[in-house]
Symmetry: C2
Subunit: 256 residues, 2 copies
């Protein structure tokens, strides 16, 4: 079993040397700028940790992990554009459109999504690409509800916007390492708890969403409940889930 930090290192090494399609030309530099944002790689590390916990080959899950990070990065690059959140900075650096211009950032986001699908399609079994595409469609649907302010059901918005990609992080790992469908259920139930956990903590840190609606204290309780449910799901798995438990603990207490 590798620790979360070890998995993150493995992932960074893979992502850093991952060849992108030559036809992208100089757009590759822009995509790499967006990818090298110093993010915590939560989704790919989760994907690799699940692969490892199922005693699957971590290397088999690397393309899936990268595909997840590319989809996540595509959504950040587009979110930061003036057309949406108009954020000039991301993690202390100029956001992609500030650095390269709006048009180039728009295309870089498009290319990150397309490259993500190419990675997911590098597996023989299309089930991986199907799950990633479904999750991406759900994520975009959630973003749209979010910007419409159409949030009478905030949990549903956050399930789509954040949860779909977290659930897919677990699902892609299972299929990448070949866990039979009949054995996937308990793992997937664990994955479905992580989106709510991540998003409520995000709301607390940003003082919006559930924190704005329920107050910080009540939102904190929601987060703790989600973390507790995730831990309970792990306890039911007959596997060494210590690294996954570390990840849950980290998500619950993170400060950014």
């Amino acid at each position: 079993m590798r620790t979360a930090d070890e998995l993150r290192e493995v992932f960074e090494a893979y992502l850093g040397t991952l060849p992108l399609a030559p036809e992208l030309g100089r757009l590759e530099e822009v995509m790499r700028y967006a990818l090298d944002s110093g993010g915590k790689r939560v989704r790919p590390v989760l994907c690799l940790a699940v692969a490892d916990a199922t005693r699957g080959a971590v290397a088999r899950a690397l393309p899936a992990a990268a595909a997840l990070e590319l989809v996540h990065t595509f959504s950040l690059v587009h979110d930061d554009l003036p057309a949406l959140d108009d954020d000039a900075e991301r993690r202390g650096r100029p956001s992609t459109h500030v650095r390269y211009g709006d048009g180039v950032a728009l295309l870089a986001g498009d290319a990150l999504l397309a490259e993500a699908l190419r990675l997911a399609l590098s597996y023989d079994d299309p089930v991986i690409a199907r799950e990633l595409t479904d999750a991406t469609v759900g994520m975009i649907g959630g973003q749209h509800r979010d910007i419409l302010g159409d949030v009478h059901d905030l949990a549903e918005v956050e399930r789509l916007k954040t949860g779909r990609l977290f659930s897919a992080s677990v699902g892609l790992a299972l299929n990448a390492v070949g866990v039979p469908l009949a054995e996937q259920g308990p793992w997937r139930s664990f994955g479905d708890e992580l989106g709510p956990l991540f998003q409520v903590v995000d709301d607390i840190l940003d003082e919006d969403g559930f924190a704005e609606r329920l107050g910080a204290e009540q939102a904190r309780r929601l987060a703790d409940d989600a973390a507790e449910r995730a831990r309970k799901r792990l306890e039911r798995l007959s596997a060494d889930t210590s690294v996954l438990r570390d990840l849950v603990d980290g998500l619950a207490v993170r400060t950014r």
Copy 2:
């Protein structure tokens, strides 16, 4: 054999009733606005005509044809945004971002690409989704070179920006109806001529690209040569290619 107009009708009926992912919610309306732009459906009709000419089942190629049109439409919606061409109209109607706002149009473009991949992944064989994704990556690379003004090799820019999706329109049809790989070559050679033909005529109509560089007369000659090469490719195929020949003739003389 069905005529091009008949194939277009079949396609419109399919596209009009094609279910999109329910999670897209109200974004579906925006996507349908972009798709109902009164376009000529050149790529899907080409795809269906190839399927028909190979004596394959046209219905088998419909999801591939729709996937091609969704990718094309995604690229138009994003191109029209202020970040790129800033076009307020498309075919006499307000462009998607003028009608729905920049942020919503951005997300609708993203969703069109993701839905296109979902359609391509509805086939058992992932080869169709792979070819569409590769073509999309090439198209985006071409768009980037175009906005950089990095056009010392204009033919290469246009091959990527326009040609990749035309070639894929033929390639997807072949795989959708199950033409064996060993028999695909001559069909693909035909497809590879259509991007240059389409793009040079576009340049003539827009008075840019090759028309700007070589003058209208010389560009017209380029277009006629491309059309002639495409017809020659068709003559070598032992199939009824009359509808494909009509399509080539139409592309050569089109006025929009």
